[in-house]
Symmetry: none
DNA sequence: TGGGATTATATGGGCGTCAATGGGTATGTG
DNA sequence: CACATACCCATTGACGCCCATATAATCCCA
């Protein structure tokens, strides 16, 4: 399976280490299996993460913008300076930078939510609440989606 | 990772030395790992820097401007004549020329912002403010950021 | 197919290494 | 000689690497 799926709740130890769920590790390309990128979610108080491969893709796109435009700087600043890369140790653990933990309100436990091509890290309670809210919105307001999700192939 | 990523805040000591963040050092080609170039940013009160190898890339970008335009001369002059090369000592530190520090308003701390193929050095407060402003502009006015960040290859 | 044995995963902790920082001295150039 | 800067060494704290354990999952063989 090459998608980030399901949810996991892992402890953050004294040194600040958390295990990246094993199934998430397996999604990373064998080449860069010991590195991921993290950044603040735009839409919620959570951290988003994925393999480094996507970063190179983004770099390429930004590089194609007009170098002397304001847009270039805005993209470049908002993305490159906000993204952090962290390495994963032999046991599959990594460090969440302090700033990102603050942003997401994470202290002693990290809740990992698979999102397909990327994943989110939440403070456990907020993450669970977000899941409920999402689901409620889906069921109440988006009948068409419900159809997509329940329809047989 | 061969890109300048993330942000770092390093102290400038009495002698005027600053550490180039370790992850930035690693972006420099192993050959010229002890030399970088610095120049005033055209668009902001910051210093831009990169490995010497990127000079060619900068030349190409300027060359793509209309040769007979005023812009051409302005960019060409502003950048090429202002470029300085500085060497990095064994501990990974370098000196920011006085003129550049003045231009950016840097005194005792330098804020390094990764920008992909180059990086910027800001006075800490201004740098943080710039990050916020950039992000705000993108979120309010440009849906494209969201697309870049969330869209799959 | 049951149940012990092996492997994997999450978690904890020790310790050496490296990064950031400080300072002292030599070298050099005006 | 004075100032700047290159070179050398020292300190501190963070992080990487290694080893250890407990629980859960998987395997394997009779």
């Amino acid at each position: 399976m090459d998608l980030f799926i399901s949810k996991y709740f892992n402890k953050i130890d004294k040194k600040g280490r958390v295990s990246l769920p094993s199934s998430f590790r397996n999604v990373l390309p064998k080449a860069n299996r010991n590195e991921i990128i993290l950044y603040k979610s735009i839409k919620s108080r959570s951290i988003e993460g994925c393999g480094v491969g996507r970063l190179k893709e983004i770099a390429k796109r930004i590089n194609n913008l007009d170098f002397f435009s304001e847009d270039y700087d805005d993209f470049s600043t908002s993305i490159f300076s906000e993204i952090v890369t962290t390495s994963i140790d032999k046991e599959g653990r990594f460090l969440i930078p302090e700033e990102l933990k603050l942003y997401a309100g994470i202290k002693t436990e990290a809740a990992f939510f698979g999102q397909g091509h990327f994943f989110q890290i939440w403070e456990t309670k907020q993450g669970l609440k977000n899941t409920e809210d999402s689901r409620r919105r889906l069921l109440k307001e988006k009948k068409s989606l419900r159809i997509m999700l329940t329809q047989q192939k």
